[in-house]
Amino acid sequence: MYWEKDIETLSFEKLKEYQLIKLKETIFQSKKSEYYGKKLKDIDSSSINSISDISNLPFTTKQDMRDNFPYGFLTVPLDDVVRLHSSSGTTGNPTVVYHSKQDLDEWTNLVARCMYMVGVRKSDVFQNIMGYGLFTGGIGFHYGAEKLGVLTIPIGPGNSKRQIWFLKEFQVTTIHILPSYALRLYTFFEELGVDPKKDLKLKTAFIGSEPHSEEIRKKIELLYGLKAYNSYGLSEMNGPGVAFECQYQDGLHVWEDNFYIEIIDPDTGKVLPDGEEGELVITTLKRDAMPLIRYRTKDLTKIIPEKCKCGRTHRRIDRIKGRSDDMLIINGVNIFPVQIEKTIMKVPEVGDNYIIELKKENFMDKVFVKIEINENTFHGTLNEIEKLQKKITEELKSELGINPVVKFVESGSLPQSEGKAVRVYDLRNK
């Protein structure tokens, strides 16, 4: 069940030694770039004696990448670059990541390692419902799956009826999909007379690219009758394949032979001990064309210090709680949208689609939660809906300390997107 047993189960001490060597190489390599050449000119990699000395190095931010567009971070001649990925960048410079042939091989291997870990094999059929193109989600999994020898269907997102036709016709066993789209896709099955549990052979789903709650995962597993694994990645660190759940679905193993992880206090920049929640900071350890040192992901999580039952020694991070950018401050209380989701999804009568609206009323923040009514549990009385509204309001009040207005709306009336779901509409400054 290991793709690379030696690496995945390397002892903690050996892993640290390995990381130290790789960090020194990374510093050396990074200094070939214009940006780090200046930034790290006083840092001598021989002065790094233990991996924790990394905390003396400066952070790198997304803004640094933008400011040094296009080639400020590049460490190899452009001739050796074989691909770039870029953020959409509608305002200002996009963040661009360059890959050499070696970088792509490493990335592909990591994705293969992730997929193999949860049982995907040559005999599987894989429908890749994630977006292709500049976005790294689709293409990253595509090459990983091909490396495993899996029959790969590069369908991309959208056209739900066609998706279902492919799933059924080719007896697909494995999918990669946005969690919000998985829930939406499910609503098309009934119309086509296909029962996902009886008529399909699905056993594994990879879900990622959107922060989502455990409740959403369970819902997807229940609806499709499969196991859904949480995948974490970001384009600055290749894309998918940075951290991934093993068969125990209890935190995501970060591939520490490729990435060095730290958790910091986002306000002070101080490194926090394992187990404490903060911002994830990642250093690439094998990047060739574009190493990144202490990159601030803005993703909030914690490192799980305990050993995992699967035998892998690479430490796990907790499900991403949200991005520091996504945090909502509601009348002074810090809340992540995913916390609201977690609370409302605990109520079984709730449909899959919801949005959160924030407005100002009498100088106070007011939260409106609009939820689509669930057709399958609607019994036809006013009473039940009023009770449900009350229940959800109470839950949100007691768990998050906010006093929202919960509204049920007709099913299908909220905006749907085939890309990442937009759940929060902050109308406070409008």
Binding site: I373, N374, E375, F378, H379, G380, T381, L382, N383, I385, E386, K407, F408, V409, E410, S411, G412, S413
Partner: protein, 142 residues
């Protein structure tokens, strides 16, 4: 057992019109309609001559709809008869969830549609008290 359809609607102009249009396009005949309102949304209750077909059609148009059991009771068109019916139900501890009159004159009697919690107890209670209920066919052709 006769059925009515309960449809979840947000209160916005043209909603009832859309529902009745869908039914009209299918040549379905609406026999009774009633709107229970709770501010920004409500429940439309409809009695129609072919509830199964209407249910499917409304679902096709993505309405959230549910079929509910109803009993149509014939009561004399005179004062005190509704009170008599309600007394019978309450003395048998049967809660009424909803109740509305659909036809002022039906062979010189009125028809009252009731939704109650306890089926089929209610039917035997009504029978015992000589209260006449309408057959499904009668309900759909009120």
């Amino acid at each position: 057992m006769a059925h009515q359809l309960s449809i979840f609607v947000e209160n916005s102009p043209g909603k009832l019109e859309r529902i009745t249009k869908i039914l009209a396009d299918e040549k379905l005949n609406v026999r009774g309609i009633c709107l229970a309102n709770a501010g920004e949304f409500g429940i439309v209750k409809i009695i129609v001559d072919d509830p199964d077909k209407a249910y499917d059609k409304l679902k096709e148009h993505h309405f959230t709809v549910s079929k509910r059991n109803i009993i149509a009771v014939r009561i004399d068109d005179k004062s005190g008869s509704l009170c008599n019916l309600l007394t019978i139900l309450s003395s048998n501890k049967i809660n009424i969830e909803d109740c509305y009159g659909v036809s002022v004159a039906y062979n010189n009697s009125a028809a009252i549609i009731i939704e109650v919690e306890k089926y089929p107890d209610v039917e035997s209670v009504l029978k015992k008290n000589n209260i006449e209920t309408l057959t499904d066919k009668e309900v759909y052709s009120i």
